[in-house]
Symmetry: C2
Amino acid sequence: MKRPTIADIARRAGVSKGAVSYALNGRPGVSEETRARIHAIAQEIGWRPNLAARLLSGAGAGAIGLVVCRPARFLGVEPFFMELISGIEGELAARSYALMLQVAAGHEDEIAVYRRWWGEGRVDGVILVDLHTNDPRVPVMEKLGMPAVVIGHPSAAGSLPAVWSDEAAAMREVLEHLAALGHRRVARVAGPAALAHTAIRDAAFVESLAALGLEEAPAAHTDHTGEQGARATRRLLSSRSRPTAIVYDNDVTALAGLSVAQEMGLRVPAGLSVVAWDDSPLCQVVRPPLTTTARDIPASGARAAQLLLRMAAGEQVTGVEDAAARLRPRGSTAPPP
Amino acid sequence: MKRPTIADIARRAGVSKGAVSYALNGRPGVSEETRARIHAIAQEIGWRPNLAARLLSGAGAGAIGLVVCRPARFLGVEPFFMELISGIEGELAARSYALMLQVAAGHEDEIAVYRRWWGEGRVDGVILVDLHTNDPRVPVMEKLGMPAVVIGHPSAAGSLPAVWSDEAAAMREVLEHLAALGHRRVARVAGPAALAHTAIRDAAFVESLAALGLEEAPAAHTDHTGEQGARATRRLLSSRSRPTAIVYDNDVTALAGLSVAQEMGLRVPAGLSVVAWDDSPLCQVVRPPLTTTARDIPASGARAAQLLLRMAAGEQVTGVEDAAARLRPRGSTAPPP
DNA sequence: GAGTTTCACTGAACCGGATCAGCGGGACCG
DNA sequence: CGGTCCCGCTGATCCGGTTCAGTGAAACTC
């Protein structure tokens, strides 16, 4: 029942613990013959290195952490995280690294989790997501000297390496698409204003409107939930200067907006064009299928994990820019009425 | 930069390592005065117990594991996991336990992960989800002696404790609702036939149809994705004996089905009633909002985590039955045309 | 053939806590 | 006033790996 240790292997093989350690770690100092014998015995008795012992002797934790800081209720609908996680996992699994996941209620809790993980030696580093402008997590990571990679624009990442894509370019592409269709009055239903990427898209939206000669329009900020997406859409569509197209910041709000429009008797895309953000199967499942921007989220996750592992290994790393999201035109955009 | 150890505290306090250990763990053997002094020093220099050292001295890993075995692409849309995870987390966070997450490609990979985790002492136990009938994971857990809790019906859980809800009752309630509305021809778009809960719902579906005097109908099995949901729906709606209501096994297939129906010119609920399974924000966002069964998934996760922790502590535990899912009637069900 | 190098391996220290036997000293008892 | 008990603490050992200095023997060198 007790788990076998290298001492058991050493006894069986008639050698010392040290020799077993060398043999199993592929280091020089043992003959090929002995090495093979030790490997055979290890295999036979089902030996696995005890993580704690290895850790104690200075090895890394063999795990990285991800803290998700959103209300649970909303988490579920957001495909982003699961896609990100599956991308991260792909990179980790190959090296037998593990992923620690924790859901936190706010930035303070999140920081407390990092401190604990780091203090206990439970993780070798963490991936930060959903950065705010002036995010308090960044200086904490820098001060702790804890390896961390940011998924998001470098402008919010301080000295931490970032994995990002050009959101401004994607926004420009969306508006060019709408302008080409003939839209002049385009509205935007955005995510939380505090998020760094919301601010970036806000700016790009305003800038691109101007560049394309479209009417000025403010962004309506939401918490990314269907309810607020619906409410914002209702307000926009009831206003005097009703937009002919709305650009949403995620798929859930876009879906909610689509429903509201249809409920108000507006046909999509004939009466209103809708653009979602970050393609997900949801966008293809509804009628009409939603025009969205699409990018490879798992790839970003994989890249971030890769950087983090190199960083944890002591390497000096710099951020990388992923391909920008591309517009994926579907049935929800058409010329204005 | 180096993390402080109890030896550092001992030196500062002018006592031995042993005394510090006693003091910090609230065990007798030190005076209250010394204890307070040691605590103050620990606080001051930011000491945290090193996980590895504690582990090596026989303590638990302070973590539990969850392996998710579904294709990544689909994972994202399924709110189930994130809800489950947030429930588990709630229970863990209070005790400073951590959650290890891994995405696996199949049962063999999944079992390999369990073996590794257990062999390395990385987790104190695991939660199993998506049980198949005759699931290979169950005997492995039993043989390893690894604490494990199943989320699903006990009939598939072998000797492992299960957290389950009465799916048959929920199915009955759904069909009673449809029968009461006047439906006689009800179809079912199910999940993968290999899943234990699919089989249970299949049986309950057939049984309840008979009990209510509705027409016999087979279940169309899918892989839970929108595509297959759409295809199954299209086939059903094109058949000679077109059903007046369809019961889906999850929200994504229901959503896809809804779109297909609308595309084929069928009004929902006037021309076709649609029932989804496991309520999620998605169901409320679309038009019409979907009638679904709803249950408290985070609560199940929390309960499973609770059981697992007790089990890992050596307690003998038995499974618990959660409240059955309740029907939540919304706009997608109405009397048949 | 003596000296040097290389090889294969041993023994012990080490990581950071937990735990236990033991010890000095004060309090209490008879 | 001597004996016993308990409190508060020390010092050592243990957990299971890693690592390093050292060792004995064989191989090589001149």
